[in-house]
């Protein structure tokens, strides 16, 4: 670390520390409260133990269509606007089935801004500034709620990212019909349906992660190792040979999802039909499918405690001691060369692919430990000759990768949380493409998060990354980084 870089880090750290001291010393009269807080006039901590992470009550709230798990109406402080008296249900179908609107506009805003200090990156790789103050800047609008007992919705849109005027985008935008299995005499919430754009029912969310950086495995895409012998024949060389599959887990997908948690219990399931082009419009005719199963073992000794939404702790309610295990899988058929875009005389290339994995989450008092492992496999098909003379396709080595992460979280105090995370990805094609020194690339990311207020967080994360080759040399470097920033909602 050079002197100037050291000085900048010290100054930024002192500013952040001063802000922290000031914020703690201040005595606010009122908390800023997003949509659900306003509806129930309750603090964020009712549902979140480290926002946006949900505690057991928050999870039950979400599963119940963004309503309190029991006696919801008695807790609502902003009564809804009735779009028809409840008795209108009897008049249906000669009248529109009655619904309701949230009593207040169910909108919240979120801002995240981070400062970053980067280790020295060789110029041969490209210029990377040593420090970057307050990037990415993300301003998100969130609207969520229910239109009555069985319909809920969620919309979040990044209005601004990476600085003023930068392109934002819709994250999740879906409507969900809850407990439609009721009409089939199925257990409560055994069957729900949501439609729109949404993050997959992942074991661990990326869209609403507590971390300052993505899970590496969720950002992994399959890109084939180009066959130089074949690609060199064409003039100009095609942009890529084959197996450029844009699908990644960490981006919202568009589709329809069936799922449920019978009797709001410990078993959950979901099956989704998707476009498979991340948050873009459909780029091929085929649809993908994703499925997940999980079961939570409630490890509380007292059977009566297991039935409660949260366990009774000596100093207040707490999450149940539990172990959740799950499995997930994704199948799709990537399509390339549609309309001869790569190889004009050849038909569309169809490359089936799948992702499969397992996950676990363990909770005990102030400690949580979770992890995921995943394997990805893409069929790789390449033309049987130079692009201008090829007559068909042949199978090549599939593109595969594997990896996952493990993370631990510990609450020293309700407002002071320590994190430790390990990410690993094994990708021979990425290695061959010069992404990393070895097939396997990993990183360690310790962090600390401070809830200055229930809706305002200061977060710190250090990223110790894998070795990357320096182009044109036999040496390597690590793109380590230290990120500090602020995240708040109102």
């Amino acid at each position: 670390m050079d002197r100037q870089g050291t000085r900048v880090v010290v100054v930024v750290s002192l500013i952040m520390l001063a802000s922290l001291i000031y914020a703690f010393a201040s005595a606010p009269r009122a908390n800023a409260i997003p949509a659900f807080s306003r509806k129930y006039q309750t603090s964020c901590t009712t549902c979140h133990n480290n926002f946006p992470e949900l505690n057991d009550f928050g999870l039950a709230f979400k599963k119940n269509g963004f309503k309190f798990p029991a006696d919801d109406e008695s807790f609502v402080k902003e009564p809804p606007v009735l779009l028809g008296a409840k008795a209108q249900k009897e008049a249906f179908p000669t009248a529109i089935y009655p619904g309701e609107l949230p009593g207040n506009l169910p909108i919240a805003f979120r801002y995240s801004g981070f400062a970053q200090y980067n280790s020295k990156v060789p110029l041969a790789v490209g210029f990377t500034p040593r420090t970057d103050l307050f990037a990415p800047n993300t301003f998100t609008i969130i609207a969520a709620g229910s239109f009555g007992p069985n319909i809920s919705f969620w919309i979040d849109n990044d209005i601004s990212t990476g600085g003023s005027g930068a392109a934002g985008g819709l994250g999740d935008g879906y409507i969900k019909a809850n407990d439609i299995g009721h009409w089939l005499h199925l257990p409560k919430d055994a069957l729900n349906v949501r439609f729109g754009q949404f993050e997959l029912d992942l074991p661990f969310t990326q869209a609403r992660t507590i971390n300052l950086s993505d899970y590496d495995i969720f950002d992994q895409a399959s890109v084939a190792l180009a066959n130089p012998a074949l690609c060199e024949f064409a003039t100009p060389p095609p942009p890529a040979c084959t197996t450029n599959n844009p699908f990644v887990f960490g981006v919202p997908q568009r589709g329809i999802e069936f799922g449920g948690y019978p009797n709001d219990g410990n078993f959950t399931w979901s099956v989704a039909i998707l476009n498979g082009n991340n948050d873009g419009p459909a780029a091929r005719n085929s649809k993908d499918i994703y499925g997940r199963l999980s079961y939570t073992f409630n490890l509380e000794r007292d059977p009566s405690v297991r039935k409660e939404v949260r366990a009774a702790g000596p100093t207040g309610p707490r999450d149940h001691t539990s172990l959740r295990i799950g499995a997930f899988g994704y199948y799709g058929r990537n399509a390339l060369n549609i309309g001869g875009s790569l190889f004009p005389a050849l038909p569309t290339i169809r490359e089936p692919f799948y992702r499969a994995g397992g996950d676990f989450r363990f909770k005990y008092r102030n400690f949580e430990l979770w992890g995921l492992g995943m394997f990805g496999h893409d069929t790789n098909v390449i033309p049987n000759g130079p692009s201008d003379t090829a007559t068909g396709f042949v199978s090549a080595t599939p593109v595969t990768f594997a990896g996952g992460f493990a993370e631990a979280e510990y609450w020293v105090y309700p407002w002071l949380i320590g994190l430790m995370r390990y990410d690993v990805v094994n990708s021979p094609t990425d290695f061959a493409a010069g992404v990393s020194r070895r097939d396997t690339r990993n990183r360690f990311s310790p962090g600390v998060q401070v809830l200055v207020r229930a809706n305002l967080k200061l977060a710190f994360e250090y990223q110790h990354r894998f070795e990357q080759p320096i182009p044109g040399s036999a040496q390597f470097f690590r793109a380590n980084g230290f990120v500090i920033g602020t995240d708040f909602l109102f």
Binding site: S43, F68, A70, S74, R310, A312, T315, P414, A454
Partner: protein, 203 residues
Amino acid sequence: MSTMKRAILVGGIFGGALFLAGIAMAGDVKGKVSVQGLRSAENIAVYVDAIPGKKFDAPTQHVTIDQRKMAFVPKVTVVLQGTTVDFLNSDSVGHNVYWPSISGNKKLTHNLGTWGKGEKKSFQFNDPGVASLLCNVHPEMSGTLVIVSTPYFAVTDSDGTFEIKNVPPGTYTLKTWSEDGKPTTQSVTVGATAANVELTVKK
């Protein structure tokens, strides 16, 4: 009737008369609290301060403070030192009750734990002072328990009026407690009829 029996009868009549006279002479303290710089005159505790040389037995009847719709009900409660308070949970969510101190004395902090709907936990408050009642999973919830040394107290209603019943004749020091205002002290003399007082609580 023997002399002894006559003496007992006269003594009994005289004692009964004195007793009845005591009841007839106990008065009420009525009044109104007005505020300066505060949002409302509601939920201000008004009580007779400790009477030198006079101690009161702890009542046998418990006082109940409920947690209903994510709020302490009543918001402000006054009890005589030694009273046992039952903390009831009428909500279908788990609550807990704790207080970080009593009048700033952190040694008197206590956490009652967690209990569900329809259950209650009790605690006997033997130390005078003010306890801020909190729930550590719903931090927006707060209530106040004011523990005083005499059984003569009241809490103002929405327009600041209060009534303290059955105060024996005498001159006392009347005190107030409010969440955002400074304590007020005023002398009051209680006779055979109700004493009317006007108090002002300032921020």
